[in-house]
């Protein structure tokens, strides 16, 4: 049972009525990077939100690390699967990079020293050391993206979902991001990445899932 994420026969309809998933099943494995492609409107972001329990399917079951998401709180799901939005400004909340990494853990009462150590580690991995005291929302886009991924990983998930992580980044920033993702792969973090950047897909894919005809290569 090494399926990290399981979607069993789910169906989902948009509030406006259009059915986007009908009896759809998907298995995503531990440690693998799957790239999700498809035209605008094909349901990529919706799929990721269904996996995260942000949206609930009208039929079928979503299981994450063996547990059904229907009975889990968002916070518990977040400890297993990290979700990085397409627009990082929607998930950065603090006045400094360090605070951004540590506040959820400190809020819940975790040990301060251990949390700060973990944050230092993240700053290293994600090359954010130089901006550790900067205002998150004023960082460059590349830095914001890396900070969003880092802060989501602080909670300890072993699987990541990234929605268009390369949007609006120039080649240098995309390379910096790719290096980080390579590091994560080495420590066996599985990923589902929505992207349409061909080079990026080539570099990171283990599998490609194209929505619209649902081809699984």
């Amino acid at each position: 049972m090494n399926n990290t994420i399981e979607l069993n026969n789910i169906s989902y309809k948009y509030p406006k009525g259009r059915k986007v998933f009908d009896n759809f099943s998907l298995n995503l494995k531990n440690g693998e990077t799957t790239v999700l492609t498809g035209k605008n409107g094909s349901g990529k972001t919706t799929l990721t939100k269904l996996i995260m329990g942000i949206l609930k399917p009208s039929f079928g079951e979503v299981k994450v690390f063996g547990q059904s998401t229907a009975s889990l709180s968002l916070g518990s799901i977040g400890e297993m699967v990290g979700y990085v939005f397409q627009y990082p400004e929607r998930q950065l909340f603090s006045t400094s990079v360090v605070e951004e990494l540590t506040f959820p853990l400190l809020f819940k009462g975790y040990n301060k020293e251990e949390t700060m150590d973990k944050a230092e580690e993240m700053l290293e991995i994600f090359d954010l050391g130089k901006v550790k005291n900067s205002y998150p929302l004023f960082l460059s886009y590349g830095e914001k993206r890396r900070l969003a991924i880092a802060s989501v990983l602080m909670i300890g998930p072993k699987y990541l979902i990234l929605d268009e992580p390369t949007a609006s980044l120039d080649k240098e920033r995309i390379d910096a991001l790719s290096e980080v993702l390579d590091k994560l792969k080495k420590i066996n973090i599985g990923m589902l990445i929505i992207s349409h950047n061909k080079d990026f897909i080539e570099r990171h894919k283990d599998k490609v899932l194209a929505l619209e005809g649902v081809n699984y290569e």
């Binding site: 605008n40 886009y141 080649k171």
Partner: protein
Amino acid sequence: MNAVEVKNLSFKYNNSEGYVLKDVNFSVRKGETVAIIGQSGCGKSTLCNLICGLIPRLYKGELSGEVLIFGENINRLSISETVSKIGIIFQNPSTQLFSPTIEDELAFGPENLCVEREEICNRIDKILKTMNMEKYRYDNPNNLSGGQQQLVAIASVLMLAPSILICDEIMSWIDDEGKEIIKDVLLKLKEEGKTIIMVDHDYDNIKIADRIFNLR
């Protein structure tokens, strides 16, 4: 006469320490398409804002050097003269559209310049036809994709009939399909004789440029 001339332009924002641009010099001939390439943070957007006059009109700082539009210093042009000569399209499609329908959005520019009603309606009909967007006429911008929104932004700027267009990384947030449509539109505009200044970091987007200028 050059459409745009930038002479010894240096600029520093009021609350920042270093100069964003130092001694920038270049010129663009009428009908030319020039691309300005550079990494993030090197001042590309600042340069765009300087050329179209948003700096110093909307954004303040220490400026030296000058920007000439068709031979005239941009600081001496009134707002209506400026926007009739130069148009700018920005990176984020969503914050360039603020009217309830596409038709209203297109009408916004000429209405500000007190253009006659009939003329405005004529221009709207023409532009919707040229850009193949007639079916979106009464749509709410919230219901359009990023690529379509950007097309509306371009059309809205074209409603003022400027001969110079500045494109500030306009394809950054657009998907592949949308990018192709926008590139086609730019090519058409180039063939009509518009002067286009494109700022970007992706070489794929600026293939239609006649010249590439590197900003360090």
